[in-house]
């Protein structure tokens, strides 16, 4: 059991979030991913206008991602110690930004279809 396997990672994540929350998040991410694919297939393209508007939400997502990690780990910007810390911070921001952009795009696409 010295190797890092997928089942090890899953078990660690289950312990980290709690089993229900972890699998809940996995299901939520899967649904969001499918919805994203669904609206692209439905519209037969990525709507440029919507994407630009969705990207306006990216900084919000980045900020929420960073704020969330700082909150759950009782830390803040003053604790950033070395280059690796900056890299981790950027990765968290990117994850938040991408997630929020996709979410904003889906919300616009679904609500615009309701109007039409």
């Amino acid at each position: 059991m010295n190797e890092l396997t997928l089942s090890t990672l899953l078990a660690v994540f289950e312990e980290m979030f709690g089993r229900h929350l972890f699998w809940g998040l996995v299901i939520a991410c899967t649904i969001i991913a499918f919805l994203f694919i669904y609206v692209i297939i439905r519209d037969n393209k990525i709507e440029a206008k919507r994407l630009v508007r969705a990207e306006l939400w990216a900084p919000v997502g980045a900020a929420i991602g960073i704020a969330f990690v700082f909150f759950i780990t009782s830390s803040n910007f003053a604790d950033i110690g070395g280059p690796i810390d900056v890299i981790v911070l950027i990765l968290i921001a990117v994850a938040g930004a991408v997630g929020m952009t996709i979410l904003a795009y889906i919300v616009q696409s679904l609500s615009s279809s309701q109007k039409s």
Binding site: M1, N2, T8, I72, S75, I80, V88
Partner: protein
């Protein structure tokens, strides 16, 4: 008195059930009663079918959950080899881990072996001798989760 760092360790010893048994060392840690063990195979020299892992093991390093992670596979390999009538070369190198919290928000993830060689789990990524936020993140969210997963036999 001025100081930069204080580390207070309360007295520690094995539970009565071990201390009052024939298992502890006769000439080492006699006030604490840890189980006599070969420091590499973790096998008891006088009772070859007894292995010790975890805090109870009378080896010069260890006493962390992180050590247990590397001790268990060694003891397991020797047990299985015994059952199969073979010999195992698996050896515990004294690996232990000290997540030193230097303040709320920063820590040092210091890992080392019997010879005090640094044995970083993430070489080139997490510098063991620097106070880093990533080390604090590891300590805050990843380590306990890993040790809990270990108790389920999954890590």
């Amino acid at each position: 008195m001025e100081y930069d760092f204080i580390n207070v360790i309360p007295p520690m010893r094995a539970p009565d059930v071990i201390r009052n048994s024939p298992l502890p060392w006769a000439d080492k840690w006699t006030d604490q009663g840890w189980v006599e063990a070969d420091k590499h195979s973790l096998r008891h020299p006088r009772y070859p079918d007894v292995f010790s892992v975890g805090d109870i093991a009378g080896v010069p390093k260890g006493k962390t959950a992180a050590s247990v992670k590397w001790q268990v596979p060694v003891a397991m390999a020797h047990l299985i080899a015994d059952i199969e009538g073979k010999q195992s070369n698996e050896s515990y190198n004294g690996y232990t881990s000290c997540p030193l919290i230097t303040r709320v928000g920063r820590a040092m993830l210091v890992e080392f072996d019997y010879k005090n060689n640094l044995t970083p789990s993430f070489p080139g990524v997490i510098a063991p001798l620097e106070e880093l936020w990533i080390s604090w993140l590891m300590k805050e969210v990843a380590l306990k989760a890993t040790y809990n997963a270990m108790l389920r036999g999954k890590a």
